[in-house]
């Protein structure tokens, strides 16, 4: 019993450290969250849930289609890798998320709070509106006073509860001596409610309870839309940092969280794992995939004494690594400083809504103050002057403005989310609409980052079967490519004995009494070809070369062609060798390319383009792209990118294809146009309504009408984005 309690609550458990460490993995994995970017229908839901429930150790699995995510309860007999593999085999793309970092409950609570306020405001608005209809249609004297009183009883508590977000934001802005959109909103709501209360007790003819409530309701609706768009993006941003679940394996085999590793520790890095720290190899030899860090497609051999950087992937042999820097000190994190510098320049971008608010807020206050002074001066009736001033404030209140931006960004992000893109930054769409130059990275962005066999059909069936049998057990990208190709064509492999992998060299085995080897040219004794290749030697026969080409990412060509058709200037910057870059540039149709770029050079090139007045969209996935991504006007990275890169970019491609990029640029242009149209609509309403209000003719009925009409027009205009072809 005590055992169960201990593992159920790791925080309270007073178990010795070693015991906790040993069980840390079990405890951590009892609740797993997976991201499933490609699911879209009922069949996907049941497929994923059935696959997961079919796995041993899974107690419960539930898919959330809205968030494209699965929550899984497991016991200690299974682990995340098994589940991911099962889903991949069933045809569903999936990534692990760190359940702890998601803190879904907290964001959910926030969403429910706004929805509750919205419901209260809506309920109160409808009731007060019905009572107002009686007043508008001519109720007078005692009846009118009673209706006003009932309205007040409903409205005042409802406003006090529902409008809190505006009051809080406005008081924050005022205490920082700034003006934001919420200041005129709060002022209008408070003044309207206060003035109406006063009028009710004085048996006045005009009360604005309905206006104050519908103002609150419409604005909360805008807030809720805004919240929903951002919560999906926010959870995704956390999701993305969470994608790389930070664990390290100690020499003893215990798996510990990365933040408990310190300098001098010895870590074990198994083939296929990512190096979690910076360090020096103390034992073993292997090959490393550095493509995420440098853009090189081909693996690099390492030996005892070699320096490793966090983020590289170990391919062929197990390594023991002495930690030289972990966590915040590792090279991965040092790059963040570089990025932070570039980021500050981009943060200076002011969104359209903020620009509108800067003009709007002072103008509205000035206008209603002028109205008040004017009427006092003309008629001397302070009560009437105050009434007019309140009417001006209500009519000019940025109700439509508050909806104008969120309604459009919700519609546009929803559309792009369905196309497989996640908009992380709230101003990304506006910035994306302005771009005229697109810079692509090669390895991992335009290409899959894994090579494809190019001469499979020129090789004899016997050699194919031997090569496939040798390649099957290795994690080296060239071996994986051979094994994949063999599997596609029937998967027959030759019977081998004594298969051994020689780290850094290749794979060796015995076949029909002969030694067979698959690996490097120098090890086999073959002459190295100028292109990417691996070599097979069977006994004493001459070596056979298997040649490879970079595999283009799905949709790469379509994206480049579409962007060029849109009149964008397309550039390719890569850290890889010139021959490989020229080949890819030719295949996708990019004329302007540059090879062997260092990370800083990429950022410099992007900076140069920006200084020349171009707005650059950077698409990249590697660590060597991060500085360039930060320096660009707006940035996109694929889901397969390194976590540091994804966190940095404004937009993340959830699927494998690059094709949605061209759609995104189109949608962003029309979204920005809709936002501007919405501002124009709101301004148009004000142009008609303000003179009427200033003249003192604005009744509560006119205010309610103007407000609802402008809000509905704006929302409908935003919805047009959804159907756009």
């Amino acid at each position: 019993m005590s055992y169960a309690q201990m593992s159920a609550c790791p925080a309270c458990s007073a178990a010795p450290a070693a015991e906790t460490t040993a069980r840390a993995r079990d405890v951590k994995d009892t609740h797993i969250v997976l991201s499933l970017p490609a699911i879209h229908c009922a069949a996907c839901i049941s497929g994923v849930e059935r696959t997961l429930m079919g796995q041993a150790g899974v107690k419960a699995a539930r898919v959330n289609l809205t968030l494209k995510r699965a929550q899984i309860e497991t016991d200690h007999t299974t682990d995340t890798e098994t589940l991911l593999k099962a889903l991949t085999d069933a045809g569903y793309e999936s990534y692990e998320l760190d359940a702890g970092a998601l803190s879904a409950t907290q964001t959910d609570r926030q969403g429910r709070a706004i929805l509750t306020r919205l419901a209260v405001a809506g309920f109160a608005m409808m009731n007060v509106m019905l009572l107002s209809v009686a007043v508008w249609s001519g109720a007078s004297d005692a009846t009118r006073d009673m209706f006003h009183l009932i309205s007040a009883v409903i409205a005042v508590p409802a406003i006090a509860f529902s409008a809190q977000p505006f009051f809080i934001s406005a008081s924050n802005a005022l205490s920082a001596r700034r003006l934001n959109m919420d200041v005129p909103i709060s002022l209008a709501i408070i003044l309207a409610a206060g003035m109406s209360l006063f009028e009710t007790f004085q048996s006045g003819s005009h009360a604005y309870f309905d206006a104050a409530l519908s103002l609150t309701f419409f604005l909360l609706a805008g807030r809720y839309l805004d919240y929903r768009t951002r919560s999906v993006a926010r959870s995704a941003a956390q999701e993305l940092t969470a994608l790389e679940v930070p664990r390290a394996t100690l020499e003893s085999g215990a798996i510990v969280p990365i933040n408990t590793v310190s300098k001098g520790d010895i870590l074990r890095v198994v083939p296929g794992a990512r190096v979690p720290v910076d360090g020096i190899v103390t034992q073993g030899a292997s090959e490393l995939d550095r493509s995420l860090l440098t853009g090189e497609t081909l693996p690099v051999g390492v030996d005892v004494g070699a320096v490793l950087n966090a983020g590289e992937i170990n391919l062929t042999g197990p390594l023991l690594v002495q930690v030289t820097a972990a966590g915040q000190d590792s090279s991965l994190h040092r790059l963040a400083d570089l990025v932070a510098m570039a980021e500050t320049s981009r943060n200076r971008y002011t969104s359209l809504a903020d620009r509108a608010a800067q003009i709007y807020a002072p103008a509205v206050h000035l206008l209603s103050f002028v109205a008040f002074i004017g009427w006092v001066w003309m008629s001397g009736d302070i009560r009437h002057a105050l009434n007019v001033a309140v009417a001006v404030l209500i009519i000019t209140c940025p109700c439509a403005l508050g909806l104008a931006v969120p309604a459009v960004t919700t519609a546009a992000s929803g559309r792009l989310f369905r196309a497989g893109m996640l908009i992380k930054s709230s101003t990304a769409l506006e910035r994306l609409a302005e771009i005229d130059t697109v810079v692509f990275d090669k390895t991992g962005t335009l290409t899959e980052g894994c090579p494809a066999l190019s001469n499979w059909h020129d090789i004899s069936v016997e050699n194919r079967e031997i090569a496939a049998a040798l390649a099957v057990g290795s994690a080296h990208p060239l071996s994986v490519a051979i094994a994949d190709e063999a599997k596609k064509l029937g998967g027959k492999t030759a019977p081998l004995r004594d298969v051994t992998e020689v780290p850094g060299q290749g794979v060796e085995a015995r076949w029909n009494g002969q030694v067979v080897r698959l690996g490097r040219a120098s090890w086999i004794g073959a002459e190295a070809l100028p292109q990417t290749a691996t070599y097979l030697k069977v006994g004493d026969q001459p070596p056979v070369a298997f040649t490879f080409v970079d595999q283009l990412r799905a949709g790469a060509q379509a994206a480049v062609t579409a962007l060029k058709a849109q009149g964008k200037h397309v550039v390719l910057l890569s850290g890889d060798a010139p021959a490989a870059v020229a080949d890819i540039a030719g295949r996708v149709g990019i004329e302007a390319w540059k090879a062997s770029c260092l990370p800083m050079e990429k950022a410099l090139r992007v900076g140069e383009l920006s200084r020349a007045g171009r707005k650059v969209l950077m698409v990249g996935d590697g660590l060597n792209d991060t500085a360039a991504l930060a320096a660009a006007h707006v940035s996109i990275s694929p889901a397969s990118a390194l976590d540091a890169t994804r966190v940095l970019s404004d937009i993340v491609l959830l699927g494998k294809s690059l094709a949605p990029i061209s759609e995104a640029t189109q949608v962003s242009v029309s979204a920005t146009r809709r936002i501007k149209e919405n501002f124009a609509v709101a301004a148009g309403y004000n142009m008609i309504a303000i003179p009427v209000a200033l003249a003192g003719f604005a009744t509560p009925f006119a205010a309610a009408l103007a407000m609802s009409l402008s809000s509905i027009t704006v929302s409908l205009n935003a919805l047009r984005l959804r159907g756009l072809k």
Binding site: A42, D108, A119
Partner: protein, 53 residues
């Protein structure tokens, strides 16, 4: 017009009932996955074990 004395409280009560029901819907997480719920109702394999939270 005296009927208003009954009608207004009754209508407020009924409206309030709807509001309370809505709070309950929010609390029982019925708005967490609207798309998924819409699709699930079409699939046969959920008939035997409906949503349990």
């Amino acid at each position: 017009m005296n009927v208003l004395v009954f009608l207004i409280p009754i209508s407020l009560f009924l409206g309030g009932l709807g509001l309370v029901a809505f709070f309950w819907f929010i609390k029982s997480q019925q708005f967490d996955d609207p798309q998924g719920d819409a699709e699930r109702i079409l699939a046969k394999d959920f008939d035997d074990h409906p949503r349990s939270e």
